[in-house]
Subunit: 280 residues, 2 copies
């Protein structure tokens, strides 16, 4: 594992690391923000994982969201992985919403994707193991993300009870089985078996969730993808039907950009900090 | 004047406008952040101008610095222009530190630059006039910037007494006459007359400043350009010699990036807000 970037930021350090991923069988980069509390003697710090959206890599969140300020206030480590396996040997597609930059945080079962596209195993297992072995952190984990990454945060938390203390999402794809982005990606990565799709769809997963982890979702009402790709009302209906706790906030005027994330990431970090500090 | 971007951000609006600049004789873009206080009935708001560094345009500051949060807190409008005239008809150079993206906030006197490169007149006169005619702002102005833009902020404030209520800079080029970036740009834009250079050099200007506007300067001590291009100690010596008030803060560990700006822009906005609210 090699550090490729290290920059002072809000009294702590914003770093980027590169490593060989065994799960993805390629070189990967991830970002780690170490708050001031990580220096010297201290208790192991909790970690908030951030999953970015389509076309992003590990840079978008750390350069645009301004989350480091809040992580420094709360003494939380931030970890932001890339959004897919990468490299010349890794399958790709010309479209922005399939292949590299569009891993959808699942393990693909179909050729040519199955060889490398195992982002669920990477985010849930390999990356936390790496982080917990190499940084002064505890095993207290929370997860959040944006758009495709919001889908990732919700589905990974719902599929792995007990793994995350809290979960939140910005503008998530809540029902990928029912919208163009998800239908395209799931067809390519998982094939035509709609049963497999349901296991990767937050709206389907809340219906049978064994753990009632509260969901915090922020959604801009001027989001250009709201009606076609995001459809937060489907999550609201599913949570109501299942009795699953959901806080869905429709934020007036906000769009799908990082200006939206920057405006509310402080509240999300505070939400996760409360859960991470409560212990469990 | 045409609005090309409008995004909700921290309860206000981050906008980008395009217009024909008479002074620069080309189309220009500038960013305006309107805080929540700009909605409805209110007193005219003060404006903080931000000047970016080499290679930047109007986007860098608004996407990476996180300044909108603080502008929203203080009720200040932020205006961030591009760093040079732009377009196919505008002279350019292959190097990153000359021509488009490298206007150095001066009026060029030499061919081929003199035709369009009049960034001093643009930033000091044309842009504020446009902003004050089209937005709900007062004529209370402050100015700040980074690197080449820090040079711009310091020199424009020193050259135009009474025009700005306060001035600050991150990692400024304080003595362009004595460092490679400045020597190259000044030779191209102003020719070999070192007397003209002195009129664009903060270290030279403080020696004869008629107005004792306090200078606030933050500089990272891990800045990769510190020893070769920035040399803040020259400003310290000049200010001491002239009795010009200077707060120079060497910030340990910080580099030349926007992570540095993001970490301290809140303190700069608060500094300017205090001066802008004091009236005068």
């Amino acid at each position: 594992m090699e550090r490729v970037e290290r920059r002072a930021c809000f009294g702590g350090w914003q770093e980027v690391w590169q490593h060989r991923s065994a799960v993805l069988d390629c070189d990967m980069r991830f970002a780690v923000y170490l708050p001031p509390q990580a220096e010297g003697e201290h208790e192991a710090l909790p970690v908030l994982y951030w999953l970015s959206g389509l076309t992003c890599n590990e840079q978008n969140f750390i350069t645009k969201a301004g989350a480091q300020r809040y992580a420094a206030e709360h003494g939380i480590v931030l970890v932001a992985p890339d959004t897919s396996p990468r490299g010349e040997d890794v399958a790709n597609d010309e479209a922005y919403d399939l292949g590299q930059g569009a891993g959808f945080y699942l393990n693909a079962t179909q050729a040519p994707w199955a060889a490398h596209f195992r982002m669920e195993d990477y985010v849930v297992d390999e990356l936390p193991r790496l982080v917990e072995e190499n940084f002064p952190v505890s095993s207290a984990r929370s997860i959040s993300g944006h758009s495709m990454g919001g889908h990732g945060a919700l589905t990974l938390a719902l599929r792995h009870p007990g793994r995350y203390r809290s979960v939140s999402a910005f503008s998530p794809i809540v029902a990928p089985s029912q919208v163009p982005w998800g239908e395209k990606a799931f067809t390519a990565y998982l094939g035509d078996d709609r049963g497999a799709w349901k296991q990767r769809d937050a709206v389907e997963l809340v219906a049978n969730a064994s753990e009632r982890l509260p969901l915090l979702v922020d959604q801009g009402d001027a989001d250009e993808f709201l009606a076609t790709q995001l459809k937060p009302e489907l999550l609201e209906i599913a949570c109501r039907g299942a009795g699953h706790p959901l806080t869905l906030r429709l934020q007036p005027g906000y769009d799908h950009s990082y200006y939206f994330i920057a405006s509310f990431i402080g509240e999300h970090v505070a939400h996760h900090a409360a859960a991470l500090r409560r212990g469990g």
